[in-house]
């Protein structure tokens, strides 16, 4: 079995590399890789499992679509521009305060939903625009959005990786607040100073002159109400869960989008909203395609035993080698399995450390800071791609990765310290 699974893995890697090179489409390449994997492993053409795989990340795809609809509707009525104008007027002269405010704005949506992509989709565009005025080159804008987005996903109270690991290991999701909050805040501070160094902002008067004028009839009530509703629904779901039914994030965003339409000062026609909606779908479609094909690939990796082969090779390493390779395996697993990485690798690692008497809350927290590092890695690159698309960055992906590298390493080092020196961090779990 080991030999056959190894052959299958080699065949899948070869086909993926070849298809990516020839077809220039990672999505189609992933589906072809999955089909070849199933054939090489002797499973024929498993129609049900291929189709089932397309549904694996359906919820995430719906989240991307609806959050994008909400923000594009919001921009359509001129609210985003008005908001940016307001922020520039008030905070533009205080560079560092402005940057910390932008980082905070990025951290909040992801911290409460567990998804960094929500931060990017909701406020990423707005933040990127202000950063542009502040003299950030394009790759640094994308890197700022990416780093703050993954930090938002790792931040408490909702860290999905830690939650999934806790669920898999039958641990309560308690004791994570401080131990996640401190590294996230430290990395945020580092990232703000790192990205903000040496930038030269355009003069405030020039920025204001170039910003589109506020839409007629736009006021603070229209600007704030959609976000008030968004935060209200999120906080109600978290803190009053037995009062309202479970509506999920996609419907939450749809309700906010509907409110935007009702608040439109210019009362646009339904035809116009339809155009905005179809344009949004066109924009989000490549990302949805990625999620769909990653789901297919993940399903076939499980079927053929390739997933198990990778997992067993990692978890049977001596503990010292786990320390050495964790920053390789965990991000790469995230790049291919998304949140599934926490279940496939995270849970066995927790049991592995538990068997030698290490505090597993610290281990889970450390791992939950490592997994998001892989959100910019292939084959999925979900958060990385979202960042560059939202920022409108047109340069090479490698340049973007270079821009991300130093804060990425800072967070990686913190997480690794937590994994190695667990005892030091135990007081933060109390």
């Amino acid at each position: 079995m080991t030999l056959q699974t190894t052959y299958t893995l080699i065949a899948m890697v070869a086909v993926f590399v070849l298809c990516s090179w020839k077809l220039k489409s990672p999505e189609i390449s992933m589906v072809i890789t999955a089909i070849v994997g199933a054939l090489v492993a002797g499973f024929g053409f498993p129609v049900r499992l291929l189709v089932e795989g397309t549904l694996t990340y359906l919820d995430l795809a719906l989240l991307f679509i609806t959050a994008s609809l909400f923000m594009n509707f919001y921009s359509e009525i001129g609210a985003t521009n008005a908001l940016i104008r307001g922020m520039v007027k008030t905070f533009y002269d205080k560079k560092w305060l402005m940057l910390f405010l932008l980082a905070f704005v990025m951290l909040v949506p992801g911290a409460f939903t567990g998804a960094g992509s929500v931060s990017i989709l909701v406020v990423g565009g707005l933040v990127a625009t202000v950063l542009e005025f502040m003299g950030f080159p394009p790759e640094r804008r994308a890197a700022f959005v990416f780093i703050t987005a993954i930090l938002s996903a790792a931040a408490p109270p909702i860290n999905l990786w830690a939650m999934l690991m806790a669920a898999g290991a039958n641990m309560p999701y308690v004791g994570f607040n401080k131990i996640l909050f401190i590294p996230v805040i430290l990395t945020t501070i580092f990232a703000v100073f790192f990205f903000g160094r040496g930038t030269k902002a355009r003069p405030k008067s020039e920025v204001l002159a170039n910003l589109p004028p506020a839409a007629k009839g736009m006021n603070w009530l229209r600007l704030s109400l959609p976000f008030v509703l968004l935060l209200l629904l999120i906080f109600m779901a978290q803190y009053q869960p037995f009062v309202i039914p479970v509506i999920g994030l996609p419907l939450t965003f749809m309700l906010c989008a509907l409110l935007v339409i009702l608040l439109d000062p210019e009362h646009r026609s339904l035809k116009r909203w339809w155009t905005v909606a179809t344009n949004t779908i066109e924009t989000v479609f490549p990302l949805v395609a990625t999620l769909t094909s990653v789901g297919v690939l993940v399903n076939i990796m499980a079927l053929t035993g390739v997933r198990g082969l990778i997992a067993i090779n990692f978890v049977t390493l001596p503990i010292v080698w786990i320390y050495v390779t964790a920053l390789l395996f965990c991000p790469l697993a995230q790049g291919s399995l998304s949140y599934g990485s926490a279940v496939i690798l995270g849970v066995p690692i927790i049991f592995r450390f538990n068997s030698v008497g290490v505090n597993v809350t610290v281990v889970a927290a450390a791992l939950s800071l490592m997994f998001p590092l892989g959100d910019c890695l292939p084959p999925s690159r979900i958060v990385g791609r979202l960042s560059i698309e939202k920022v409108g960055y047109k340069g090479s992906y490698m340049q973007f990765l270079k821009a991300v590298l130093v804060p990425w390493l800072f967070l990686a080092a913190l997480a690794l310290c937590m994994l190695i020196f667990t005892k030091t961090f135990v007081p933060l779990t109390k």
Partner: protein
Amino acid sequence: MSASNIRKLAFLVLFLVLAGFASAEFKGLRYFKEKVVVSEAFTEKRMLSDWLPNIKGTWGDTPVYFYDSGKPGATVLIYGGAHPYEPAGTIAVYVIMENLQLSNGRFILIPRADMSASTEGILGNAYPQYLHIPTSWGQQQYRIGDRETALIDQWPDPFTYVHYPSKQNLAYQDLRNFNRTFPGRADGTLTERMSFAFMELIRNEKVDLVIDFHEASLMYPVVDTYVTHQRAEDIAMMAAMYCQLEMPMKCEVSPKGLRGLTHREIGDYSDALCVLIETAEPFIDRVVGRVTEQLMIDGKDEFLERASEKGLLYTSYDINDAPTIDHRVARLLTASLELIKMYDQFYPDKAVEFWYPRFTDVKTNGLGSYLHDPSAADPSRVFEN
């Protein structure tokens, strides 16, 4: 029409054709009926919705089988299928249903605690849909299913699950996990309502002992173990000792800080004693190789053997003597049997006199020998789930 649109249309048609084939398989699992031939001790079939009418007509409703001797004795509730991807639990309940002989007391048996979860596969795990048990009269077929209530019956998930009534935060998908939603809510989500209906059944039928059948990953510390509410600790500890005559068994007390689990909440919110039994299932380990029905049946996996050699497992594992489905069902049978016998010793005024096959019987004769041919049985004794 442009070339681009023609290409898109071709992709769409291709996907619809594939989806059509896949749908037939999805539908097949959803409506597949498992057959069971009940023993002569059977007295009545009811539905879970009898204890909470608002689940009637939903996929959360499930058959509840009563075996009542009519003579004084304890009421024992045994159920499997809280997590259908751990099928030994369901099959063990079927074996009890088909073979139970009862002189005193009452048994309530539920093979499919979360019916909905048994009708859908697990996304991202590529599980087979069915497993087949060989018998002398042919093969008996069972559903495998998901860990959680089917998305088609309870959707969407929240971004985090807040447990009722403790308000403890749990992973989002656990709102569909039958073994995380106890004691349930009468007006909550489908899974919370199912859990609440179970609590109502337990309270109204004055159940004395609840036994919840599960299977566990070998890398999970609580494997081959009783997990017991503290009120049943003495019984479970003693039963574990008696199990050693046939098989190793551990015992752990339910943690008070982890909410929603049956062994915690049933014990806290009713007078019943509650014990969950875990047996080792290689199939659900995260590190196993090819995910096939064969692995579900024979439990042989080279990767797991490597994990065993490295000391990463919480129970012994030998690929040449792996925990087959027969072995796992057999473990659940003896583990439950010893619990009830120990209950009899602790509460002799409520003693239950009964028989069903135990570990040694199943290991000697094979699981199939305790499953009866529905086509040859009295139709009034054949039920479908």
